[in-house]
């Protein structure tokens, strides 16, 4: 056991944890932020994708102790963020979620590609989404939602941590 200090959604969280605990489990079981979902625990399905130190990562194969001293942003941590609000609105309008299990990972990946890539056509969106598995929607509504947001917003250098 050791005490780690992680800034979660802007708030400093200090907890004693086992070294083997994953970041995903830390957020879900210790911080009670259950918006981060675990679908495979081997980094393939993408449901657990969230931002750490400004970059999307797989929280299922990241140890919580490895996130010590880091900034972590989960799906619960975007209050007032205009880009995320636009993405959520577009997901809603396009029915880009059904069961919602993949959605937190999809939102993180969408946020990343919209922030990072200026030139997003449907095929590039598909390629950037290739690490996020969805079984319900068939992806087309997700691709469309991201395309909608891209049409309205130019890629900025917005830090996902600014709040």
């Amino acid at each position: 056991m050791r005490t780690i200090n992680i800034r979660v959604n802007g708030k400093l969280v200090s907890r004693a944890v086992e070294d083997r605990l994953s970041l995903a489990d830390f957020l879900r079981d210790h911080c009670l932020l259950t918006g981060t979902h675990v679908g495979c625990e081997h980094g393939v399905c993408g449901a657990c994708t969230l931002f750490m130190d400004g970059k999307p990562i797989r929280s299922c194969i990241t140890l919580a102790v490895a996130a010590d001293q880091s900034h972590v942003r989960t799906v619960e941590g975007y209050q007032g963020d205009p880009l995320m609000q636009a993405i959520r609105t577009a997901f809603n309008h396009r029915h880009a979620l059904q069961c919602g299990f993949c959605t937190p990972g999809m939102l993180a990946t969408a946020y990343d590609m919209l922030s990072r890539i200026a030139d997003l056509d449907r095929d590039r969106i598909r390629a950037e989404l290739s690490g996020n598995l969805c079984r319900c929607t068939g992806y087309l509504s997700i691709i469309q939602a991201i395309e909608d947001v891209h049409a309205k917003h130019v890629a900025t250098a917005a830090s996902p941590l600014s709040s």
Partner: protein, 275 residues
């Protein structure tokens, strides 16, 4: 799927990591981005008592020229290479390969050193480094040595890395501006490990002609006759090149249905190089 009990430490400097390895070697594993080791820990396929996280060691995150060789810190991530954050000595080949590794979220953490140390035969960097005739620099508390990647990798998930050693750098020779490369890979889906991959490099100025071939279950290898033919004929005599490829493929003990795939990928890498 949760790991066994273990202890984790994250030294700030290489010295600390090497000392920890010297003390615990058989009970300790080095972890960098954790994109390969993380799943193994979760599956309990790896059960170290001690994890030594080297990802924050600054000295392992630089990328600088040493003469005509680029020394890439082992903890440089695939994403940094994809984004062009390191000097380009391979005429864009490394950037191109980086972009095809797994997915962005994995590339943000996965490292080139980690990928080579893990040595999954289908890993993109393995076949690429062999094609580039790159080397790895290994360091332990006892000293430093360098090995060609082709010699470093012994078998699937098996390398010459001693339990007390860490890869510190990947050493990539610079290609001349007139050099050419070709790349072809077949994976079931984008981001999957390749079923088969081939990289062809031709650099007349430096006298380099190398065609490396990678597949599942066996580490990548240089296609010797194809490489010789490429170097000799400057790639102009396609007919002879095809025969050389057939000859090299015969050495692989592959089923005919897979040979069909391997052949196609190698020829496409060669085609990519000249187009």
């Amino acid at each position: 799927m949760k790991p066994v009990q273990l202890s984790y430490e994250r030294p700030d400097a290489l010295r600390g990591a090497l000392e920890a390895l010297r003390q615990s070697s058989s009970n300790a594993r080095v972890i960098a981005g954790g994109q390969s080791l993380g799943p193994m820990l979760n599956f309990r396929l790896a059960q170290p008592k001690r994890l030594i996280d080297v990802s924050r060691i600054e000295a392992l995150r630089t990328a600088a020229m040493e003469g005509q060789t680029l020394a890439i810190g082992a903890c440089v991530t695939h994403a940094r290479i994809e984004d062009g954050d390191i000097p380009d000595v391979t005429l864009g080949l490394m950037r191109h390969v980086a972009r095809g590794i797994a997915y962005r979220a994995v590339r943000n953490r996965g490292t080139i050193g980690g990928s080579l140390a893990h040595a999954d035969p289908a890993a993109d960097w393995l076949v690429t480094m062999i094609a580039l005739d790159a080397s790895v620099r290994l360091q332990s508390a006892a000293g430093i040595r360098e090995l060609k990647v082709a010699d470093f990798v012994i078998g699937p998930l098996n390398t010459q890395l001693a339990e007390t050693e860490v890869i510190t750098h990947v050493l990539v020779p610079r290609l001349a501006a007139s050099g050419r490369w070709g790349h072809a890979k077949y994976a079931k889906k984008p981001g999957d490990f390749a079923e088969t991959a081939a990289i062809a490099i031709f650099d007349a100025e430096r006298g380099v002609a190398r065609v490396a071939f990678g597949r599942r279950d066996e580490p990548p290898a240089l296609m010797q006759r194809t490489s010789n033919q490429l170097g000799g004929a400057h790639g102009r005599q396609r007919g002879n090149l095809k025969a050389a490829v057939e000859s090299d493929l015969r050495d692989l003990s592959a089923k005919p249905v897979d040979l069909m795939l391997h052949r196609a990928i190698v020829m496409r890498a060669l085609q990519d190089m000249v187009s």
